[in-house]
């Protein structure tokens, strides 16, 4: 669900027709989950609606607004999951998406999902939300971790002080969800408010009254304008008392200028005073709280020693689990036994008896048949690999290791114009480049977004492809994998380094919050892997079928041989591959993992020498990922950047492949 379409639809509705505090029945009421990054909004969303959105232990996983339906206390609700916000004065695109939704989403209630062990931080957001004047509930999530740290919170007293229902929750285990559901109809507009000093208070009410006509969120808007949030101007309704927008802006600028200290700081202190009083009353400490071995491990994982060692260990475990177990053991089983001995012979026999037309028989079960090629590749070669990768990756995500990897990678990423935060899209790219390109929204500057998009397109192999590649290399000398990794890492650094110097703009400072290391919940991993595999089958398998159909018709009309001949100077002479490799490249245009599967198959049939394995691994990795990825890049980066990236990627992939071939031919390394 994308924000754009959703909002435009809502804004057309006249707001008088809505019943803000609920006549029951008719319209489903609208409920949004709001909170700081990585506090568990998406897990709660799933608990309230049964709809799955990608959840992980990394700040910034949700970049769009998702929605789902749920029945809560006999009333139908549309529930919205919003991206995490540190503050409602937005600094990045995903924060702005959430703030805009609070202003324009016509919400009947908000659940603030908060980190129970960081009450001060959570309450800052509560006091910000209070100024939006939307009925709300405070859900103190991760109460188990709060208890482990010996912190006690008097929720009853907190509820009285804030004027909203407050409930303890452990979203991952479901503890506290039933009381939360019961409280949804009892949501209230908070009575607690920041204590602005006289001058600040006057300035805010002046901005609110002279600049903005009456609206329920006018205080929130006035605070945003006072704090120099330029994106808030978009929400200032037309027809304000003053003659023009420019004069309003000038007026606000003058009000800001009366203060020596930064207005942001003044607003912050006004909240801080209230919060310290509240915390003094409701929070106490019982015992010191034990520091677990997981906390120690979490800290060790960020020290140069043994941090880099642990990162290497994680890489090795991935190789063992995905490359050996997934791509060798499971693929062997599915390809040779399940498809080789059962499905394909049975399907062939069945089609040949039921369909007497040879053309249709070939279409389904011939050498380029939909069943014998597309479905066999998809289910026997790719699916086991993707499943093992998603299992591994989901475990890493939920454990909270990835932000620590961001710490370890920050200095390396600086060389390529990024900071450690870019680890999320890059590692997510190992799962799926398309998904990862959407996640570039968590990055702060346009330059960083373009560099990450480029590197994702060029040199980050997605799981399916990675699995096929690990599978290709698994039976051969370690040198094959080493050369591939070296070529990939050095091209990535080189391209990133050049891009960082050629593209205008700067690097933003590195700043990331580190969640505690956690032992992942098997049920959450199961749900996540299931959702991703569902997405995979829906998204990917049709593309496999289309690509196979193209190949089938090209073969039928003897065009395949022609194409192989036309490209033979490139494929055979320049890259040093057999002519049949052209087929793998052709289907690689649809999805490069399908192309990789083609090469994987050729390797298994013994059609490729080690040198040719390396060259094909390199070229297919550097290739454009897939049609879906192309569309997403087009949407996020625009036509010009996409065209430039694509043109560069194709010529670069072939160029590097040729160079690797030439070097390997003239040395005796392999």
């Amino acid at each position: 669900m994308k924000l754009g379409s959703d909002l435009s639809m809502d804004l057309n509705k006249s707001s008088e027709n809505r019943h803000p505090h609920g006549s029951p029945g008719r319209l489903p009421k609208r409920l949004a989950l709001v909170g700081q990054p990585n506090v568990g909004k998406s897990v709660l969303f799933h608990a309230l609606t049964g709809t799955y959105v990608t959840v992980s232990n990394f700040p910034g996983t949700t970049v769009d607004i998702s929605h789902g339906e749920g029945v809560i206390e006999g009333q139908r609700w549309t529930v919205f999951d919003t991206p995490g916000v540190f503050s409602l004065i937005p600094r990045s695109e995903d924060e702005r998406v959430a703030r805009d939704f609070l202003l324009e989403g016509e919400l009947d209630a908000v659940i603030q999902v908060a980190d129970a062990k960081n009450l001060a931080k959570s309450l800052h957001l509560t006091l910000e939300l209070a100024e939006f004047k939307i009925p709300m509930i405070l859900a103190l999530n991760m109460s188990d971790e709060r208890r482990d740290r010996g912190l006690v919170i008097d929720t009853k007293r907190l509820s009285d002080l804030l004027g909203v229902p407050v409930v303890d929750v452990v979203a991952t285990t479901g503890e506290g969800i039933p009381p939360l559901r019961r409280l949804v109809p009892l949501a209230r507009i908070p009575t607690a408010a920041p204590r602005y000093d006289a001058q600040v208070g006057q300035s805010l009410s002046k901005i609110a009254s002279t600049v903005l006509p009456a609206a329920c969120s006018r205080t929130a808007l006035a605070v945003a304008l006072f704090a120099k949030d330029e994106s808030a101007w978009r929400h200032v309704p037309a027809g304000s008392p003053a003659p023009s927008l420019a004069s309003l802006q000038e007026e606000v600028r003058q009000i800001r200028n009366r203060f020596v200290r930064k207005p942001e700081m003044l607003i912050f202190e006004a909240r801080q005073h209230v919060i310290q009083e509240i915390i003094g009353e409701v929070q106490s400490r019982r015992g010191a709280g034990s520091s677990s071995w997981l906390a120690h491990l979490g800290n060790l994982a960020m020290r140069p020693f043994p941090g880099y060692l642990l990162a290497g260990l994680a890489l090795f475990l991935m190789y063992a689990f995905v490359g050996v177990f997934g791509a060798k053991v499971l693929v062997d089983f599915f390809e040779r036994i399940v498809f080789g001995q059962w499905i394909n012979p049975l399907a062939t026999a069945f089609v040949q008896t039921v369909l007497p037309i040879p053309f249709l028989q070939d279409l389904l079960v011939g050498p380029y048949g939909t069943i014998t090629m597309a479905l066999t590749y998809a289910f026997a070669l790719i699916l086991p690999i993707v499943t093992t990768f998603f299992l591994f990756f989901s475990f890493m995500e939920d454990s909270g290791y990835l932000p620590r990897l961001a710490v370890m990678m920050d200095r390396l990423f600086r060389l390529i114009g990024l900071n450690g935060r870019a680890v999320l899209p890059m590692v997510l790219g190992l799962g799926c480049d398309t998904m990862a390109t959407v996640t570039t929204r968590i990055l702060d500057t346009k330059k960083e977004k373009v560099i990450v998009s480029l590197l994702l397109t060029l040199s980050v192999p997605c799981s399916a492809q990675l699995g096929a590649i690990l599978g290709m290399a698994a039976g051969l000398s370690w040198k094959v994998l080493a050369v591939w990794m070296f070529v990939l890492a050095s091209t990535m650094m080189l391209v990133g380094w050049v891009a960082a110097r050629v593209l205008p703009g700067g690097r933003s400072p590195f700043l990331v919050e580190l969640p505690p290391l956690r032992w992942p919940q098997p049920s959450n991993i199961y749900k996540k892997v299931k959702a991703r595999l569902k997405w995979y089958t829906k998204e990917v398998i049709p593309l496999f079928v289309y690509a196979t159909l193209v190949l089938f018709f090209l073969d039928r009309f003897h065009l395949l041989a022609m194409i192989e001949k036309v490209f033979s100077p490139v494929v055979v002479s320049f890259l040093g591959l057999p002519a049949k490799a052209t087929e793998a490249f052709l289907i690689g245009f649809f999805r490069r993992d399908y192309g990789a599967a083609g090469f994987f198959n050729m390797t298994k049939q013994g059609l490729l020498l080690p040198r040719q394995v390396v060259v094909s691994m390199v070229v297919i990795t550097l290739f454009m990922p897939c049609v879906a990825h192309l569309l997403v890049t087009l949407k996020e980066r625009g036509l010009k950047a996409t065209a430039l990236i694509s043109a560069f990627v194709f010529s670069f992939a072939l160029g590097v492949g040729g160079a690797v071939n030439w070097i390997l031919l003239h040395t005796s390394f392999l």
């Binding site: 931080k121 800052h124 704090a227 942001e264 920050d410 450690g420 400072p509 590195f510 580190l514």
Partner: protein, 226 residues
């Protein structure tokens, strides 16, 4: 660095008493002893009632018209005088402030300098024993110890070592577009911050959160080491 909490600013009443004691001290220094001689010389802003107040608080003793300090008053007044005269030296010698502006400034400082700042100034000036107006400066602990170096009172976080704790004093806002986010993440003035590591990036503990950031951000956070 001392582990004492920062001295709170004196209340108005304390300031009046300090002012009165300081004036009496200077008269006693000149050899004047009787209340009749001293009272007219006390700053007119605090003159009315200050004698009665100090006497009833037991800070000054009035025996047969002669004025003397209680032990508590001696302790308070020597440090007030010390602060004032060190401030005078700093203003004159280092900051080149014109003579007529020195006294009003120093009179402010005598009430507000914290012990840490006072001994840093004293060390910085090389433990001077006389004010620019040739009055004696009461020696402090740092003079007896002969402290030769002074640690900065505040430092940016990137100067801190692993394992050290500090209190956040302020964040450089001009250099820091992330100000709002840093505050929202819990890096708030007054909170205690512990450096967990410095490399490959800074990792700190603030309250129950761990944050990682680069030295650019670390350099914009000013702290008071504990």
């Amino acid at each position: 660095m001392s582990k004492k909490p920062m001295t709170p600013l004196p209340s108005e009443q304390e300031e009046v008493r300090e002012e009165g004691l300081a004036d009496i001290y200077e008269c006693l220094e000149e050899g004047l002893t009787s209340r009749d001689q001293i009272e007219p010389l006390v700053n007119e802003k605090v003159r009315s009632g200050v004698f009665a107040d100090l006497a009833s608080a037991g800070l000054i003793l009035l025996e047969g018209g002669a004025v003397s300090f209680s032990p508590e008053a001696t302790r308070v007044v020597t440090s007030v005088i010390r602060r004032k005269r060190l401030a005078e030296r700093l203003l004159k010698d280092i900051l080149n402030v014109a003579d007529e502006f020195i006294d009003p400034e120093a009179c402010q400082w005598e009430h507000t300098l914290s012990p840490e700042v006072t001994s840093s100034i004293c060390t910085l000036l090389g433990h001077p024993s006389q004010s620019p107006f040739d009055k004696l400066i009461p020696p402090g602990e740092c003079c007896h110890n002969g402290t030769q170096t002074t640690a900065p009172i505040l430092s940016s976080l990137d100067k801190m070592d692993r394992g050290e704790e500090a209190k956040i004093v302020y964040l450089l806002s001009a250099k820091n577009p992330e100000l709002n986010r840093l505050l929202a993440m819990g890096l708030t003035p007054g909170s205690t911050i512990k450096v967990i590591q410095r490399f490959p990036t800074f990792v700190v503990q603030v309250g129950q959160s761990q944050l990682a950031f680069d030295e650019l951000i670390a350099g914009s956070i000013f702290v008071h080491p504990l």
